[in-house]
């Protein structure tokens, strides 16, 4: 059996003198979407930054297609991992097209400007996310949802094998949440991208994820298919609220409703 796209092995992560999470092990296969749940401060962002190499692991190992990635240069990592940060993009008024083009940084040397191939990859990424009409607009002047789509487009222009999204739907309106999740789902399917995303909405796991991981108390509480993991017991353990997880008609989708609202 071939090695998984991403393997996290007995990982401890955090900052010097402060371990945030420990003993974390899981894998993500090609084309698989893994949704990470956990309460505020549980270290989802820290875990993602450690996987991306922005923070050094305190212990454990990370492998991509079986190869350990410790010691990889930022450029080599960027050719494998695309990252959509929570508050990315900076404050300078680049156009959406210029911002997406920055996703090609790792594909060229430090002195080189974007090639025709770079521009085409950026244009395609913009088109795939349906924001071609925004390409010449200033990034700081488009709406929050459009910004998020632009950051996803930038990560896509990187042509990564693994896409890491830190709360991609935070602060988006309902329609934009649906749009971003749809885009992620369809990218995983059409491009065999492995996707790692975090969210504060357990229901979103049903909408886009193949598997769900729940972090609690610095450990991996549960991991598995959404239907098995997103349960009343797990959510109570994770968030300390009583929730009913109810199926919607004949679909795979479930809604999570706090018990207090039902009585």
């Amino acid at each position: 059996m071939s090695a998984p796209r991403l393997a996290v092995e007995d990982l401890s992560y955090g900052y010097p003198g402060h371990i945030v999470g420990h003993g974390i092990s899981f894998t993500v296969g090609a084309g698989e979407v893994l949704c990470v749940l956990g309460r505020n401060g549980e270290g989802k962002s820290t875990l993602f930054k450690t996987i991306l190499g922005l923070l050094s692991p305190r212990a454990g190992a990370l492998r991509v297609d079986g190869e350990p990635i410790a010691g990889w240069s930022p450029r080599r990592r960027a050719l494998v991992f695309g990252y959509v940060p929570q508050n990315g993009g900076g404050t300078f008024p680049f156009t959406v097209a210029e911002l997406v083009l920055m996703g090609r940084t790792a594909h060229r040397g430090p002195f080189a400007g974007p090639s025709a191939a770079d521009r085409q990859a950026a244009d395609e990424a913009i088109a795939v996310l349906g924001i071609s009409h925004l390409a010449t607009r200033e990034w700081v002047r488009v709406s929050g949802g459009e910004r998020q789509l632009a950051l996803v487009a930038r990560a896509l222009a990187q042509e990564p094998r693994i896409l890491v999204l830190d709360e991609p739907t935070a602060s988006l309106d309902f329609g934009n949440q649906v749009r971003v999740l749809d885009a992620i789902r369809s990218l995983a399917e059409t491009r065999a991208l492995s996707v790692l995303l975090s969210t504060h909405h357990p229901e979103q796991a049903f909408a886009c994820a193949d598997r769900v991981a729940v972090l609690s108390g610095g450990e991996l509480l549960r991991i598995g298919a959404p239907g098995e993991v997103v349960t009343a017991e797990t959510l109570r353990a994770c968030y300390s609220v009583d929730v009913a997880v109810l199926p919607v008609a004949d679909s795979q989708y479930h809604v999570c409703v706090p018990q207090a609202y039902l009585s």
Partner: protein
């Protein structure tokens, strides 16, 4: 909406105005700079006409005997041209390094003084004047002071790890700048009030009055050397505006990039301060206006900052030496002009400048 169903279509990359706009702005700024150069060479106590200058240029180009009287030629070659080149070079250097610092520190409101460069360079020069060193040694001391300040600041920032690297750099720059400022104050207090103090004061206010051809041999090469890495790394500098983590995640080696860009910008600032004394505001306001005109992409921002900065400081210097019977300090004029511009940016900047 399924994103993959969106039809792929080629995309216009620039904003409607700026594709034509950028070229027009560069050509316009270059022509304006040329015009200011001609006016600056012609103006002064020894008046020269445009026809004189043209005749002089033709004679120099063809190798014929100059039609101008020898004093006119001396004025052009020994006084006016060196000063014009120095003003243009200092303005371009301050604006280019300001643009680089602003991108690097992700803040359109920082200036070349941010890492204590100006304060360090001022301290070096004031020590030189205090010790009654020759002019060249004063300039060397100023240069050394500017570089020393940045090395100290960078050393501190490297020693304090684990926090926002940019924030630590900027705060260390403020602290070290204040320390050097205190050193300058002490030397002013101790300096001979009839001889040294006026020289120190005049130098701290900025002036090109003492410029001679020899100054150019240190200023212009330093500016040229500083510009090379900024021009070569212009695409990476754009990525650095996103912040360390994001730039790293996109594949940029942020630590190396920051060292190279800071070194280049510091070299230019120190050379400028060594040649002209402290001239504030140019490195803050000019890149800002350049960004308003052509956007934040460094590949367009750098050339336009150089042209704007060179033309602006040359115009200000020409006004400074022709307006009154005594020369006005350059730093005073740039501050008087820079303050209203800055206030305007502050008042309307949320819409236009910051974002």
């Amino acid at each position: 909406m399924t994103p993959s169903s969106t039809v792929f279509s080629p995309i216009r990359r620039r904003e409607p105005s700026s594709a034509f706009g950028y070229r027009a702005i560069v050509i316009g700024a270059a022509l304006a700079l040329l015009l200011i150069v001609v006016v600056a060479v012609a103006l002064g106590p020894y008046q020269l006409s445009a026809r004189d200058l043209f005749a002089f240029l033709v004679a120099k180009a063809t190798g014929a005997a100059s039609p101008l009287p020898p004093p006119a030629e001396t004025v052009i070659l020994q006084i006016r041209l060196p000063r014009v080149l120095a003003a243009t070079g200092v303005g371009a250097a301050l604006a280019a390094s300001g643009a680089a610092y602003q991108s690097m520190f992700r803040n359109p409101l920082v200036s070349p003084d941010i890492l204590g460069v100006s304060a360090g360079a001022a301290f070096g020069a004031v020590v030189g004047i205090f010790l009654s060193l020759p002019v060249l040694a004063i300039e060397a001391a100023s240069f050394a002071g500017g570089l020393a300040a940045v090395v100290i600041v960078y050393g501190i920032a490297t020693a304090i790890r684990g926090r926002d690297a940019v924030l630590v750099l900027v705060l260390a720059g403020v602290v070290i700048g204040a320390l050097f400022g205190a050193g300058v104050g002490l030397l002013k207090y101790l300096a001979d009030p009839y001889n040294q103090l006026p020289a120190i004061t005049f130098w701290l206010l900025g002036s090109l009055a003492a410029t001679n051809p020899a100054d150019l041999t240190s200023l212009l090469p330093a500016v040229a050397i500083g510009l090379v890495p900024l021009a070569l790394l212009r695409w990476r500098i754009d990525v650095m505006t996103l912040g360390d983590e994001e730039a790293t995640a996109l594949g940029a080696d942020t630590r190396k990039l920051r060292i190279v860009v800071i070194a280049a910008a510091t070299l230019m600032t120190s050379a400028a301060v060594a040649a002209s004394g402290i001239i504030g505001w140019v490195g803050l306001v000019v890149p800002h206006l350049a960004r308003l005109t052509v956007g934040p992409a460094f590949t367009r921002l750098l050339p336009v900052s150089i042209l704007f900065g060179g033309g602006y400081l040359l115009a200000v210097d020409t006004v400074a030496r022709t307006l009154g019977t005594v020369e006005l300090p350059l730093g005073v004029l740039t501050a008087a002009l820079g303050t209203p511009v800055f206030l305007w940016l502050l008042a309307f900047g949320r819409r236009t400048a910051w974002s």
